[in-house]
Symmetry: C2
């Protein structure tokens, strides 16, 4: 598993090659050793680190949060209060975004449902966008 090339690491982790280099450049991923010719050589530890980042990104954590969480894993005997706080903040954020998107969905559904499939002049889609009052009045 060790001594992976960057392409190999990419396949193992599901993270694209340029993204891996980007993570290294911003200090998210440990700098790997290089081959005599200068190519990156990764270990299983790097793979683990990258999967951690990827999973966190999938859950919508920002790279800053993930850096903080990563730092915590290096201090395993500390209280996990901080990790918990970050996760709760993320959960609250996700819930806020869902609520916003659901309001948007409702309005889009109204727009689309009421479209009479006629000409632009009378199109509900265009009308709704043009006249904010039309939508606010409907809440």
């Amino acid at each position: 598993m060790s001594d992976m090339s960057i392409g190999n690491l990419s396949r193992q982790s599901g993270v694209k090659v340029p993204t891996i280099r980007y993570y290294e450049s911003i200090g998210m991923l440990d700098t790997p050793p290089r081959s005599p010719g200068g190519q990156r050589r990764y270990s299983a530890g790097h793979l683990e680190q990258l999967r951690f980042i990827r999973h966190g990104r999938e859950l919508g954590f920002g790279l800053d949060d993930l850096r903080a969480l990563q730092d915590l894993t290096n201090r395993p005997h500390q209280s996990c209060e901080e990790a918990d706080a970050i996760a709760r903040k993320q959960l609250a954020d996700v819930e806020r975004r869902i609520a916003g998107l659901e309001a948007v969905r409702a309005e889009l559904e109204r727009m689309v449902e009421r479209c009479s499939h006629g000409v632009v002049d009378k199109c509900r889609v265009i009308q709704t966008l043009s006249d904010h009052a039309l939508c606010e009045g409907e809440h």
Copy 2:
């Protein structure tokens, strides 16, 4: 209402001053006439245009889509099929994002609920991020 300064237009529309200039620079908002001293002077038409954009942005439309929808308003006798298609695409996109976020919310809730509030080493938050299998196995 006419002959608004950019600051005035900003207050009327709820769009920030630099954003208005940005919209002009990318051709989203019609170029306004200028005062003798070179300052922008907006009309009610610009306000309407800007509100259209703002409302569309709130609904998550990309600027490209809004440009297309704007163009349609200038051809009011055309069929609104295209507008309908853009709105449907947007609706589908929003629904997809909601579904994704709901999956994320569920996983975050599990993470947070199961956090034993002990030390990092045994923290469910960290564990879940570290080990993707833990989460996939739970579905």
